[in-house]
Amino acid sequence: MSRKLLLEHINVPGINTLDVYRQKGGYRAVEKALKTLTPEEIVEEVKKSGLRGRGGAGFPTGMKWSFLAKPEGVARYLVCNADESEPGTFKDRYLMTHIPHALIEGMIVSSFALGAKVSYIYVRGEMMPQIRILEKAIAEAKAAGWLGKNILGTGYDLELYVQPGGGAYICGEETALLESLEGKRGNPRIKPPFPAIAGLYGCPTVVNNVESIAAVVPIINDGGEEYAKIGIGRSTGTKLISASGNLVKPGVYEIELGLPVEEFIYSDEYCGGIANGKRLKATVAGGSSVPILPANLTLKYANGEPRLMSYESLSEGGFATGTMMGSGGFIAFDEDQCIVRNTWNFARFYHHESCGQCSPCREGTGWMEKVLHKIEHGHGSMDDVDLLWDIQRKIEGNTICPLGDAAAWPVASAIRHFRDEFEWHIKEPIKSQQQNYGIANYAVPIEKTVEVKSEN
């Protein structure tokens, strides 16, 4: 069994209540942080731990905290981004449902480290049950003196609020989240200024993912160096992976970073292989916005070495042969799944969720969806594939926020790796409506090459 940090006591009955959570060693981190550590020391511990943002971009959390501007007399805010709406990702919801106090404990420690007197948890509007759970947990913590005025007699005050969002994917982008939190339309802001300088209500703000904040608890309990020992290279610690798709055991898994992808998919400790005895065709390794990879490139690099579940290893090979860790939404597709249909489905999602502020994303996502719809339903022409490639190139990198990139990458990677299947849909319009393309050669293992030609 690998080491569990966040989900260690997940199966203890009543862990969602303060009493049981406390019995299992909960709120130790708050005591330790508030009584024995200074805010700077906490930031230093988090830096030492090498914790990287769990929301998708993988930016080092400690660094992000140290960028926070600290002007005199201006309030600072910590905002927890619980607007988890990426297709394929559901780890934050799981964490908040079953062990809400882990998040609240992390919020208290992080807020103390950043000097925030008021902190917000921005939860996606569809997650009403989780909002109730969090509110209940906050009330419990407040009654027990973990929140409010003069926590533990240290003179530190903290108010924690849960804010339901309107249920827009774009509000998971940090500046759109802040706009929404301020009560405005959730449009991403144009950066700079970054939230660390001018965020919520124009004050310095840190926005962190639920899992990043919860991970601060074990870092403070055991020390940053201890945390950094888990994992591989610059990918330290454990990560929650939401595994879904055609797996024997889909669900949320806590893995040590550096686990081989093959082991994650096939070992009985984790996903237990592909359901119904089928073969793996493709995976989306980090939620819908990361590039899709065929089975052979999922398991091995282009040079034949095994691929691991870590930030660096998943992005090995760039976008040509790699993908991204993203938010850890691992979707597996078996041989019966249609990549064109899946790409269309993703494009439809991004079309629906584009905020409409900047032109390439607003118009381009709709265009991509229509072209993909056409190909999927057997009306495509060969030019459409090239057109699609061209549209995604026009969107990527030319937008205000990363939603444009997120819409472009799945389309680009699907064409890059599965062009045969797109062309089959066009050449065999009737057949493509009746049967699957099948696995083709997407799972053919990559031979380990002796000499790897270096690019550039």
């Binding site: 827009a168 774009i170 339309r185 144009i190 079309h351 629906h352 969720e353 584009s354 905020c355 409409g356 502020q357 900047c358 032109s359 390439p360 607003r362 118009e363 381009g364 996502t365 709709g366 265009w367 229509k370 057109l387 061209d390 190139r393 026009k394 969107i395 990198g397 030319n398 937008t399 205000i400």
Partner: protein, 336 residues
């Protein structure tokens, strides 16, 4: 840090104030290297960054940090740093991306220029002419909306809108009550005035002037004439509105003033916002003190009104045969 910073755009170095955006630095140089701007409006705070037509490539971040910026940046919202080097029209990457933005802006545009009142003074038309393709690759139905009358003076033609948000900023900043905003999201976004509530404000007419396309047009001028058949004349009157200085452009057709707009500078931005009384109600020559014919750039289609000195095309000048063929036209230029 000193007050002045040096920035090089397409190889031309200019010294500008600290905090200037790349776009404004380029405007100080002037000429072809000025990136086109569809959503940025220097008079409106917070505008810009949305249309992405002004994207440029920053090949050197600054003197201190010479790394290039990883992506193309919106020049209207990126401030210059000392020693920054920017490529606009000299970078094929920028031109390609800009052509892509233009194509994308046009896919849901109805392209009804023949019946659009804005045609001839439309930023999108100019942009499409300079950067666009001859034909569209978009083969699906375009999104459509119903026309909305905003009060009895303004008409919103949402199909033509490129969602630059200029009118929203105008409603926020020039007028004192916000009854204007964006509804829905993605490509269904639409400018709305909440249950079509009329924009009831002395300065609401300015949304017509700031609109870069024909989405917001003057109902009093609707289908009256093509702009290139009208003659623009600068004029002023003593407006009794405290915020309006009454400096306008009158658009004549024969004896009649067909419409009144604010005066616009070379980037199509108004110099001063004018009140609705000046714009909609004063349409007799006797209301105004005429100053001079408005200067119209000779690249504009409106310049066919002969106010500019006729200039023979550059190719004609050195070529004797062409000079002979264009004798009548050349004779006219001598006359002026």
């Amino acid at each position: 840090m000193s007050d002045k910073v040096k920035v090089t755009i397409d190889g031309i170095t200019v010294e500008v104030d600290n905090g200037t955006t790349i776009l404004n630095a380029a405007r100080q140089i002037g000429g072809d290297i000025v990136p086109p701007a569809m959503c940025y409006y220097s008079k409106l705070e917070g505008s810009g960054g949305k249309c992405r037509t002004c994207i440029v490539k920053v090949t050197k971040g600054s003197e201190k940090d010479p790394r290039p910026m990883p992506k193309l940046v919106a020049s209207c919202r990126t401030t210059v740093m000392d020693g920054m080097e920017v490529l606009n029209i000299t970078s094929p990457e920028v031109l390609e991306a800009r052509a892509g933005v233009v194509e994308i802006l046009l896919i849901n545009h109805p392209l009804d220029c023949p019946v659009c009142d804005q045609a001839g003074e439309c930023d999108l038309q100019n942009l499409g002419y300079e950067h666009g393709l001859q034909k569209t690759r978009y083969e699906f139905e375009r999104r459509t909306f119903d026309r909305i009358d905003i009060g009895d003076k303004i008409q919103l033609h949402m199909n033509r809108c490129i969602l630059c948000y200029r009118c929203v900023f105008t409603a926020d900043q020039i007028t004192n009550k916000r009854v204007h905003g964006i509804l829905n999201r993605g490509d269904h976004s639409e400018i709305s005035t909440y249950i079509q509530q009329a924009v009831d404000n002395d300065f609401s007419g300015n949304v017509i002037d700031v609109c870069p396309v024909g989405a917001l047009t003057d109902r009093t001028f609707r289908f009256k004439n093509r702009v290139w058949f009208t003659k623009p004349v600068d004029a002023h009157r003593n407006c009794d509105h405290e915020k309006c200085n009454g400096k306008v452009t009158l658009w004549y057709k024969g004896e009649d003033v067909l419409r009144v707009t604010a005066r616009k500078d070379q980037y199509g931005e108004v110099e001063e916002f004018i009140c609705n009384t000046c714009r909609f109600d004063k349409k007799a020559t006797s209301d105004w003190i005429i100053e001079q014919p408005t200067h119209i750039d000779d690249t504009s289609v409106i310049a066919s009104n002969h106010y500019e000195t006729l200039k023979p095309l550059h190719v004609i000048q050195p070529n004797q045969a062409l000079q002979a063929a264009n004798e009548i036209e050349l004779h006219k230029t001598v006359k002026y």
